[in-house]
Assembly symmetry: C2
């Protein structure tokens, strides 16, 4: 195994618990009696189709905050919430800037940062990732991701440009994710891979990404275990 120099992290699900956090934010914000985890799921369900419009070239480059905002308008309608004013929508949309890390995230990142360049490589835009990091104490060295490379994962360009931006060879970089699909796409571009299962990302009934499904460089229990396995 080549010693990696930089670790690129998927964020939604891998670093932070988006579902519980969005449900909490939306409940506090709209204070109605709803199944807020279902609301979070419905909002998130529109995430991939919205990015697919951009990936396919049918839509010009658009940051995730804008896609989230459009998706929020649709989801509010489908939940019968018709009277939220636009300025309050913009505030609620920032729920994605206030996601809580998993319990091992910050301690693990702090250890890893001592030895490696650590960077989010997320489909989230820069402002979202900065605000999240300041609130949650995520000690990134640099924020990469879709807005820097102008491509949404899992497009090959997303990984290739992230590696080039860091001035490294692909095998000097390691993608860290709770999603086998993200790792498969990164591996196809020559990156090393680390799988960290997040079996509660989608709640108690989660059925996907419970176990590694590829030949990943590292399989770790959590970020502390990842740090231990990487000698950090």
């Amino acid at each position: 195994m080549t010693q990696p120099q930089a670790l690129l992290f998927d964020v939604f699900g891998t670093v932070v618990d988006w579902r519980t956090s969005v449900a909490r934010e939306a409940a506090a914000f709209l204070s109605a009696d709803l199944d807020w985890e279902a609301f979070a799921d419905a909002w998130r369900e529109r995430y991939q189709p919205a990015m697919q419009e951009v990936r396919s070239g049918r839509r010009p480059w658009t940051i995730l905050d804008v896609l989230h905002y459009e998706n929020l308008q649709t989801v509010l309608q489908s939940f019968g919430l018709h009277d939220v004013p636009d300025d309050r929508l913009a505030e609620l949309n920032q729920a994605w800037h206030r996601l809580d890390p998993w319990p091992d995230t910050v301690a693990g990142l702090e250890r890893l940062k001592r030895r490696y360049i650590i960077a989010p490589h997320s489909n989230g835009n820069i402002c979202l990732l900065v605000n999240m990091a300041k609130r949650a104490g995520l000690p990134w060295d640099v924020i990469l991701g879709a807005e820097v490379v102008r491509a949404y994962k899992p497009l090959p360009e997303s990984y290739k440009r992230a590696v080039a931006t860091l001035g490294r060879a692909p095998d000097q970089c390691m993608m860290v994710a709770a999603h086998n699909g993200d790792l498969r796409a990164a591996q196809a571009q020559g990156l090393q891979t680390a799988f960290v299962a997040r079996p509660r990302e989608h709640g108690e009934q989660q059925s996907t990404d419970l176990t590694p499904s590829g030949d990943w460089t590292i399989v770790a229990e959590d970020f502390e275990d990842l740090a231990a396995q990487l000698g950090a």
Copy 2:
């Protein structure tokens, strides 16, 4: 004065002492008997003209590492150093990734980071700024700069896009620089401004930017003083 949320830092000269550092790196690397500060000056002298080719649109977007490399080839010739092999040139070019901070830089940034988003907004590319930060302990929240906004300072787009990338209004951002010209361009786009004199950036004989020449929001002695004036 509106309370700023994000501080954008010029880097070469403001955060780090490029002249002494490049002279040291080049001397150690080429171990010839030369005036290495003059060498650093000559290398730096080609910086603005090279960027101007890109700013003007005569040349497509090109990162600073590439411009530095081309300029290094020319400068070596002009100093009579004709036999440096290409792979060693690439190593020497990384001298710009190994610049030392001024004595007050790290302590000041650490204080400022507690209260503000701190980001380099430099003409340096991302890889250069990450490597520099890891070596020098610069605790950036996010790395902005020319490669993120695809425009070299002092073009108006450089400041406008940096502000938009952070999701802030211009007056929620403050440009911090040792160069009046950088602050003038930032102020024209509505940013707040902080001048920190670096009277030895160009050595003992420096004659430019010794004092503030505009109506800047803050004039500080150094980064510790800046932190104090900003309540951090």
